[in-house]
Symmetry: C2
Subunit: 110 residues, 2 copies
DNA sequence: ATTTATTATCGTATATTTGCGATTAACTAT
DNA sequence: ATAGTTAATCGCAAATATACGATAATAAAT
């Protein structure tokens, strides 16, 4: 009686929220986003100067944030200028709001 | 010139937010939390009935949510009654709010 | 003491993530 | 054309995550 599996069809919203959450699920990436918000934009090299991680590692984290849609990269040769993707950031914000809404989970319980 | 590494000392808040995010970073766990919020509580078996996943897999996801502090489990032999951990849920809510605050990232950019 | 019901844990396989150094690619400037 | 600067990608290793079936644990009820 194996409960076959793979693919479960999650809703678009669930998929999206999981994606965003996963991207936020590493301290380094949170630091990057925080830095990015303070500076409004930054280059890869700025982060390499700030973080005690190899350039390749930081580049990888940036890639993940970009693939999750949370940041954009713009070519400014020979640099790359990163900034937060406002559209998706708002989308993420809304999705997290629904989760943490009062009536999502305000129960007397256990 | 290796940028030694491991351990980076992230702030408590960053660690906590990463932890919560990671726990939310899988669709199945979001479904579980959603279910849990609709029912206010549930047993493992309820989820096994609902989700197309093996009992052991679901138990594992519950464990992760529990270890992240997002849910509590109470023994009601032979069942286990799960519910959302309101205290940590609020904590998570606040942490995510700080991230998605207006002034965290509302810039003209790129 | 045995059986039943429920759930956690173990062992395993596979996939993904995280990190590194080395290399390549892209574009400037000489 | 060559050299310089910056960042992405490749290849690798180690750790973690995700799924499963099988087994163990827990407590109730017979």
């Amino acid at each position: 009686m194996s409960k076959t599996l793979q693919q479960i069809d999650y809703s678009k919203e669930t998929e999206a929220l999981a994606r965003f959450s996963k991207a936020l699920g590493h301290p380094t990436r949170l630091i990057i986003l925080k830095y990015l918000s303070n500076q409004s934009y930054c280059y890869t090299g700025d982060l390499v100067d700030v973080l005690p991680l190899a350039q390749s590692t930081i580049s990888q984290h940036l890639k993940e944030l970009k693939e999750a849609g949370l940041i954009d990269g713009e070519l400014k040769p020979p640099k790359v200028k990163y900034c937060i993707n406002q559209k998706n950031w708002k989308k993420a914000s809304k999705l997290f709001s629904t989760i943490f809404d009062e009536d999502f989970t305000d129960f007397s319980c256990c």
